[in-house]
């Protein structure tokens, strides 16, 4: 032990003097971008068309700017392509460019009408890994005036999905189909400086703006704990607890768990707890149908276990908890925070609804997607549905590519409301990216990956795809000074070579 290694294989006399370890503070300012109106102010009768209208209206200027810059002085043959304001105003044969929303029709895409006709809409339609089939795919661009079918060699490889707003350059051919030569998207929006928000609020309150800040530690991100009723992977959860509270590892290690200042759980904390069961779950359950609350079918142990886990680590580590697709939150994005009633033990350390911005308290149950400032950096995170849903449209395996594209389209859920359940926003669409985050993470991804992307205005974004802890045992760390991403693995039993 004298050499400071973490080898505790030694007999008495025991070493007993251990330094105490303290975590550093995690400066934390959650933004309530995705909180829905409460109670009677929340309606579901609005038409989804408004969302597309809003999206186009808000993104059009930015896309036009990009397109103007690229194509404004460009020559195609002898002509300069014209900017056409509305999709239906495109004239045959004239090179032009136009801004609109992409709509992709695919044979395998779920269709509401089909579902109704099959009388299957009690449960969610069967989830598909992909909607793609070989080649057959209709792409259209639309705005408030109408739709225009588009074709082009580059379109398939570009990875366009329903709902993204782009500018297309080309000309309409004899069949009335727009032949696309090039496309432009809005690209990354402005990125706030680090600490910008905190300093702004400080300046408002008359505080000292340029203050010396302590060195920030690391943030840990996990997702997909998938706590279920059976005790298959209990030990993994226990391990996670012990690692995070710092009792398992040697405390003097410089990069051990004491250097974690916050834990983000990016969705999927519980398995099979979505309020609307998937079709598979419905089939599996068939036989005993009971209306109303069925206490026999309800198993409280997963939630109790999650609560226990949280209350174990909370005294030493603040937690930001996002719901995910399998969690008992609302099913439509933005998913609202998991209800405090689920956490009888841990909510003593939670932010109360009345004091949402009190940074001293440890437990913050937030929405999905979620946006907030941690140690000055702007974080944007999702439980993963948005990415998984876009992936169904594309033959792209890298979830980072998708996340990157979503930021550049400035819409983190382009496929909502088409194939992703979504609240019908009316006045404003928070799913549009108004400020470029520094860190963009998505939970419940197939594998761990990360990379840094840069934008036209020197924006740099760290994209992180966080795998399920239950499958990989991976905890992702983000250094809050350098934004460097690392990870460790926790595992049980014999590691297979």
């Amino acid at each position: 032990m004298a050499d400071g290694s973490g080898d505790f294989r030694q007999c008495s006399p025991f070493q007993t003097d251990f330094s105490t370890n303290e975590r550093s503070q995690s400066a934390y300012t959650p933004l309530h971008t995705f909180d829905l109106p409460r109670g009677a102010d929340k309606h579901y009768q609005q038409q989804y068309a408004d969302m597309y209208f809003l999206r186009l209206a808000q993104l059009k200027p930015a896309v036009e700017e990009q397109a103007e810059e690229a194509w404004g002085s460009m020559k195609i043959g002898s002509d300069t392509p014209q900017h056409v304001d509305r999709v239906l105003d495109v004239r045959q044969g004239i090179p032009s460019w136009v801004v609109g929303t992409v709509f992709v029709d695919m044979p395998l895409k779920p269709n509401v009408l089909d579902d109704i006709s099959k009388d299957h809409w009690i449960s969610a339609p069967p989830t598909r890994e992909r909607y793609t089939t070989d080649g057959k795919l209709d792409m259209m661009i639309e705005d408030e005036s109408g739709r225009l079918k588009i074709i082009g060699d580059g379109l398939d490889t570009l990875g366009l999905v329903t709902g993204c707003v782009i500018a297309i350059l080309g000309h309409e051919n004899i069949d009335g189909v727009f032949n696309v030569i090039d496309t432009k998207y809005a690209d990354l929006p402005r990125q706030p400086e680090r600490w910008e928000k905190d300093e702004a609020s400080l300046a408002l309150s008359g505080g000292k703006v340029k203050q010396k800040r302590p060195r920030a530690d690391r943030v840990a991100i996990i997702s997909g704990l998938e706590i279920s009723g059976d005790s298959g992977n209990d030990l993994a959860l226990v391990m996670l607890t012990e690692y995070l509270i710092g009792e398992s590892s040697h405390p003097s290690r410089p990069d051990g768990s004491k250097k974690i200042s916050r834990l983000i759980v990016a969705g999927g904390s519980l398995a099979h707890s979505s309020p609307i069961p998937s079709r598979e779950e419905v089939v599996a359950k068939k036989g005993h149908k009971k209306y109303g609350y069925d206490s026999a079918a309800y198993d409280a142990s997963p939630t109790a276990r999650l609560d226990t886990f949280l209350s174990d680590i909370l005294p030493t580590l603040p937690v930001t908890l996002l719901p995910g697709v399998t969690d008992p939150a609302s099913v439509a994005i933005p998913q609202q925070p998991l209800h405090a009633a689920l956490f009888p033990q841990s909510r003593a350390l939670a932010n109360s609804p009345a004091l949402k911005n009190d940074p001293h308290l440890g437990f913050d149950s937030v929405s999905n997607p979620w946006e907030g400032d941690i140690d000055g950096w702007r974080f944007l995170g999702t439980g993963g549905q948005t990415v998984t849903d876009v992936q169904k449209y594309l033959d792209v395996d890298s979830t980072l590519d998708i996340m990157d594209a979503m930021l550049r389209w400035r819409c983190i859920a382009p496929t909502a409301p088409d194939t992703l359940w979504c609240y019908p926003f009316q006045e404003d669409d928070p799913l549009l990216v108004k400020e470029c985050p520094h860190v963009y993470f998505a939970g419940n991804m197939p594998k761990f990956d990360f990379r840094t992307e840069t934008g036209p205005l020197e924006q740099t974004v760290t994209l992180i795809s966080v795998p399920k802890y239950s499958e990989t045992g991976i905890i992702v760390f983000l250094d809050m000074e350098t934004l460097e991403v690392t990870h460790i693995e926790l595992g049980v039993g014999n590691p297979k070579p």
């Binding site: 973490g6 370890n21 992977n233 009792e247 405390p251 209306y291 609302s330 009633a341 689920l342 070579p497």
Partner: protein, 446 residues
């Protein structure tokens, strides 16, 4: 010694954490104790104690086959392995190294697998005994029972205080909610369902709940009556305890009215009603209930604050005497009280299966019951011809007053979109029986 009795006599596994809690020692000392015990016992009688280890080390994510082909003893051999590599398979090795940095990995392994695990690591960072058990573990997940045991037996300890003893990483920035805040929202939800069931049983015995539920609540209500005076005598606990019954009562009113509405809904067979409205509604209620805490607690807070002020004036002298001590107590009390009360409310539903589980949002629809009279906002469709001659259907929010005995007009929820006339009166009524129960709250809230 504790270890001997636990492992050898009782035959139960013990982890370092459990040991540290039992003996109130630092976890790192506990780790050493485990190893000490393991070594000494096995020296006396080989194989009498089996250990599992927590190994931390750097590992290449996908080591090539060769590494494991030769089982190594330790350092010396691994050096041997790595040196022939570059020469024999330079390309492949480079690729692997480039793609994958060594990853820190933490593994719990059985004693039998320890050697192999260590051999597979590039660098050993830390190792300690994780647990001891009398024999080899068949299912390593059994060790998690120790975690639960800690929880059960030592869960009451305030981890904000005990970190010094056990060596948990301390976070000076985390505090428990102040009492004020704690009263506002969190205390309200869990006790509420209990009270609700109580009220149902006492106020409307014809509901035919099981006999046991009837007797239980009565005891409960007595308890809560007793609680009040008792709390007044206790200095520090007063604030917590006093407010709770208050909030409960509020919640009870809600429940009473809502439950009163429920039986008819149940009596009619809701079969023809689609599931759809249910889901919609339940989603709503979930949020609703959250909201309802706010206005409600606001009132409670005001009242309580007034009372607190009076009280403070009276007892300021006493307070001064306790001073610091009281602060600590206050924290302790919140800690101790909250779980206890919650526990009891948790237990209740287990005994009587009928009662809703407080932890579950689904049964909370009851909160959303209506009031006797009020105004509500109703969405109405208006179809107007616009300038261009198109028919435009708009939804307009309108206020209208209503009272409970009046049948509720068309529910403002999606199902209403289906022409109600087509179904006729019967259909409409059936729809109402269950859907109106769920959909009313948004209106009633106003």
């Amino acid at each position: 010694m504790y270890l001997a009795s636990r492992v050898l006599n009782e035959g139960k596994p013990v982890t370092y954490r459990l040991l540290s809690r039992e003996l109130k020692v630092h976890v790192n000392v506990a780790k050493q104790m485990l190893f000490d015990f393991h070594t000494k016992q096995n020296a006396k009688r080989p194989g009498s104690v089996n250990a599992s280890y927590w190994v931390t080390g750097k590992k290449r994510p996908l080591p090539s086959q060769h590494t494991n082909g030769k089982i190594s003893q330790d350092g010396g051999d691994s050096f041997m392995q790595s040196s022939p590599f570059p020469s024999s398979m330079p390309d492949r090795e480079e690729e692997v190294v480039e793609k994958t940095r060594p990853v820190e990995s933490h593994v719990i392994v059985r004693e039998e697998e320890l050697e192999d695990t260590l051999a597979a690591l590039e660098e050993l960072i830390a190792i300690h005994v994780y647990s001891l058990q009398p024999g080899p573990l068949e299912n390593i997940n059994l060790l998690s029972t120790c975690g639960y045991e800690i929880r059960e037996r030592f869960g009451k300890e305030d981890s904000l205080e005990t970190w010094k003893i056990y060596g948990t990483i301390h976070n000076p920035y985390i505090k428990r909610r102040t009492q004020r805040v704690q009263l506002v929202a969190p205390a309200a939800p869990p006790p509420a369902p209990k009270v609700a069931s109580k009220l149902i049983n006492t106020a409307r015995p014809e509901l035919k709940r099981s006999g046991s539920t009837q007797s239980l609540p009565r005891i409960d209500s007595e308890e809560s009556k007793l609680e009040k005076p008792a709390s007044q005598s206790r200095l520090s606990a007063t604030t917590t305890k006093k407010a709770e019954p208050k909030v409960q009562k509020k919640g009870a009113d809600f429940f009473k009215s809502s439950f009163a509405k429920q039986p008819p809904a149940k009596a009619k067979n809701p079969a023809p009603v689609e599931d759809e409205p249910m889901m919609d509604a339940s989603e709503d209620e979930y949020e609703e209930d959250f909201v309802s805490e706010l206005p409600e607690s606001q009132e409670a807070k005001e009242k309580r604050e007034r009372r607190e002020a009076e009280k403070k004036a009276k007892q300021e002298k006493l307070d001064h005497i306790f001073d610091d001590v009281e602060d600590e107590q206050e924290q302790d009390v919140t800690m101790d009280d909250a779980p206890e009360q919650e526990e009891s409310s948790d237990d209740a539903p287990i005994d009587k299966i009928d009662a809703p589980n407080p932890a579950e949002p689904a049964p909370e629809p009851s909160v959303t019951g209506g009031r006797k009279r009020g105004r509500r906002q109703v969405k109405k469709k208006k179809t107007v011809k616009d300038d261009e001659g198109y028919l435009v259907t708009k939804e307009v929010m309108e206020w209208e007053s209503y009272s409970e005995d009046e049948p509720q007009p068309k529910k403002p929820k999606p199902p209403a979109i289906q022409p109600p006339a087509a179904k006729g009166k019967k259909g409409a009524q059936q729809g109402r029986s269950i859907a109106s129960f769920f959909t009313k709250p948004p209106a009633a809230k106003k």
